[in-house]
């Protein structure tokens, strides 16, 4: 596409966003409840959230770079970048938060059958189905491949039994993408990747209350759940390939947390109001790392697009980004002082500050702990011996 075409695309995109993004969706979010997740039983804190999600979904712009045949926008990388820039310019909120977009979608695009792509991807793009991820188990968190939830062969379907834990929003999800054991004799080579409806008979969930006072995570139980074999992605016992590919995308997504939000930085806002010189220095040194990591994120995305990134590089991004994010929130709490301790006041942005601080402590645990990421870097990038 020529530069002129891209400029035309930018002008049209800008005009469309200005006409279609509701004013309320150009304001900073106030906590997790303002996020739009879609699904069969969607919850909207504001009706404009639905309007904005639907308008973007119709154009495929919730997933601008997916093929249009699967509900995407069919945009080139250059056009996708322009769309993101124009959205950032208008401070548009993310129209749709979705594990379907950030995790399952890329895995289906790579490993799914044509039928699976056509069945699931367009509904993800329009926010019709909300997905959750069935990975961790009580005894298989960091040792993910040690999972036990079983899928026994029953002809044209599997019978799934077992338990998952830390299933984000399982109680609100419509479908689950799930790792199950189809062969007990091989650890990584005995895992399959299956999709099924959370409304299936035998599925139950129980939220786990966290230190932040929120409960995004659940325990999830499977009791003789019937899953058609047509819902298996990739070959039987090859689920680990899909899982690893998907984890790369998950880590990439989580690493973005180190970048802070687009609408100002509460840490720096607080510092401007005045902090002691020692804290000021800590914040300034943090700013060095944070801005350097921002450059790293840009480089990582550029290298990914060009096929130049080391396949284990998402581990580094995840490790560094989440550790940075934890530091950011520690400093935000320190800079805000007692205001940030108020659990539900105006001063603490209705509890957003302390809850976000507590929530970040999970960043270096979920999606593979920092220690697991360091193991991966050491073995796969630095090639250190076992």
């Amino acid at each position: 596409m020529s530069d002129t075409d891209l400029e035309t695309f930018r002008a049209e995109t800008r005009a469309w966003l200005e006409a279609n993004c509701p004013e309320t969706m150009r304001t900073p979010m106030r906590g997790e409840k303002d996020a739009t997740w879609g699904g069969r039983n969607p919850e909207f804190a504001h009706p404009d959230q639905k309007l904005w999600m639907d308008r973007m979904g119709e154009r495929g712009w919730t997933v601008p770079d997916w093929p249009s045949a699967y509900g995407g926008g069919g945009l080139s990388p250059a056009e996708t970048k322009i769309l993101r820039e124009e959205m950032a310019r208008l401070k548009c909120r993310n129209p749709l938060n979705s594990f379907g977009i950030s995790m399952l979608g890329p895995a289906l695009l790579k490993y799914g059958t044509e039928e699976q792509k056509l069945e699931h991807l367009p509904r993800i793009a329009r926010g019709e189905i909300r997905w959750c991820q069935g990975y961790s188990e009580p005894n298989a968190g960091s040792d993910l491949a040690g999972l036990q939830a079983s899928a026994d062969d029953a002809g044209d379907h599997y019978i799934v039994n077992g338990q998952k834990v830390w299933t984000s929003y399982a109680d609100k999800a419509d479908w689950i993408f799930c790792l199950v054991r189809t062969d007990k004799s091989s650890k990584q080579g005995g895992i399959s990747f299956v999709l099924f409806d959370m409304a299936s008979e035998g599925v139950s969930t129980r939220p786990i209350l966290l230190i932040s006072g929120n409960s995004p995570f659940c325990e999830t139980f499977f009791d003789n759940v019937k899953v058609p074999k047509a819902n298996r992605v990739h070959d039987e016992n090859k689920g680990w390939d899909v899982a690893k590919y998907l984890l790369g995308h998950e880590r990439e997504m989580i690493s973005g947390m180190g970048l802070g939000g687009p609408a100002g930085d509460p840490m720096i806002d607080a510092a401007r109001k005045g902090v002691d010189p020692i804290l000021r220095g800590q914040i300034a040194l943090f700013q060095v790392r944070s801005q350097a990591f921002k450059a790293m994120s840009e480089r990582f995305i550029d290298e990914l697009k060009a096929g130049r990134a080391h396949p284990a590089q998402p581990s580094m991004m995840k490790y560094y980004g989440t550790e940075l994010n934890k530091t950011r929130h520690e400093l935000t709490m320190a800079a805000g002082g007692s205001d940030t301790l108020e659990w539900d006041s105006e001063a603490s942005n209705h509890g957003a500050a302390p809850r976000a601080w507590l929530r970040t402590k999970a960043n270096s645990i979920e999606g593979g702990t920092s220690e697991i990421q360091l193991n991966i870097i050491a073995k796969r990038i630095l090639d250190l011996p076992s």
Partner: protein
């Protein structure tokens, strides 16, 4: 522009990597140190840099240079850093060229730089910390100026052909191109911890003509000079930190203790992996600064501060972990890793340390 090297830049890096590793490896620096060499670098090597065209990397094509940018200068400097090669490349071919570019001084000094005959030194700092404070006075005198004051931490200051001197004039700061044989100028070379030489310079009423002014009176192109110098120093730090990390990782794969390769110990693996992460993040920050500088982007100033501070932090970690993971042998003079630690400290101070640049970012952000 994608944030990785183009094919042409990669080729240049490979050329520089092979050349520097062959002609100026760490043993080259060790020999100069052991001989207590009074120059501090090899004039022959500087000539060879010129023969490859490298001294003209930032000199415009119209002035017979290669007309390339800070990304290209950086890939060469990184190899200089990786091999701890003593070289006037950063001060002369990068910082000085950037300051002289587009001024009448270009015609006077660029041919010598292109030929590998001219060495430039930067007389900017006056105290132990780079702080932007300039007390040296340049007073109007006849047709020119009279310089009085002192500078320190002037790399190559005792052997340079050209000194770029920052001094306070009536309404600001002015940069002067001063020949090193000027009357009233004395240089006192001091060997630094890394075995390089940096001079303390005394200006006792040094008279210079009006045409010694680089740029405009009261408006020294210091920001340009320093941005180039800082970005170059960041690239050199990247080389020093990367070189030390490579040595360390290699050692972890060779050294056995308790009957096992020490690289199999998780305690060391995690530290090595953390170090790798810091170095990669620093690398991205440097390329970002180089690209923004080359694009003349207004965000370059912040990016340069980020690059200099981040590489100082990451490389300091790299050399410290290098010594610790090597154990006792890392403390010996015979082993090279210690040289990396010493060079890293010098570069960390050059053109402002991590704290100086973090402070600059804080001020820019308004806190």
């Amino acid at each position: 522009m994608p944030l990785y090297l183009t094919d042409e830049q990669t080729m240049l890096r490979d050329t520089a990597r092979d050349f520097v590793a062959e002609h100026a490896p760490v043993s080259h620096m060790r020999r100069l140190r052991d001989a207590n060499d009074a120059t501090g670098f090899s004039r022959d090597l500087w000539k060879q840099f010129a023969e490859l065209g490298l001294t003209g990397i930032l000199i415009p094509e119209a002035d017979n240079g290669l007309g390339l940018g800070h990304v290209e200068a950086g890939v060469v400097i990184e190899e200089i850093g990786r091999n701890l090669s003593p070289s006037p490349f950063l001060t002369t071919a990068v910082a000085a060229v950037e300051a002289l570019k587009g001024t009448p001084h270009a015609a006077r000094w660029f041919p010598g730089i292109l030929a590998g005959e001219t060495v430039a030194a930067l007389a900017i700092d006056e105290r132990a910390k780079h702080d932007g404070c300039i007390e040296m006075k340049a007073e109007r005198s006849g047709n020119g100026f009279r310089l009085t004051g002192a500078k320190q931490f002037v790399a190559h200051g005792h052997v340079a052909d050209l000194l770029l001197v920052a001094a306070t004039t009536e309404h600001g700061t002015t940069l002067f191109a001063v020949p090193t044989d000027a009357n009233g100028l004395t240089a006192d070379p001091q060997r630094l911890a890394d075995a390089s030489l940096a001079a303390r310079l005394t200006f006792d009423g040094v008279e210079v003509d009006a045409d010694a002014v680089v740029g405009e009176v009261d408006q020294a192109p210091l920001a340009r000079l320093l941005a180039a110098g800082r970005t170059g120093a960041s690239a050199e730090l990247l080389g020093v930190g990367g070189g030390a990390m490579d040595m360390t990782v290699t050692y972890l794969k060779e050294r056995k203790q308790f009957g096992q390769l020490i690289g199999s110990f998780q305690a060391l693996q995690h530290r090595a992996a953390h170090l790798y992460s810091e170095m990669e993040v620093a690398r991205a920050a440097v390329l970002k600064a180089q690209q923004l500088l080359d694009a003349g982007d207004e965000r370059a100033a912040d990016a340069v501060s980020v690059a200099k501070a981040m590489t100082s932090l990451a490389t300091t970690l790299s050399v410290q972990e290098g010594i610790q993971m090597h154990g006792g042998i890392g403390m010996t003079d015979e082993y090279d890793i210690g040289f990396y630690m010493k060079r890293a400290r010098v570069l960390a101070e050059l053109f402002g340390d991590a704290n100086f640049h973090a402070d600059a970012l804080a001020q820019a952000a308004g806190y």
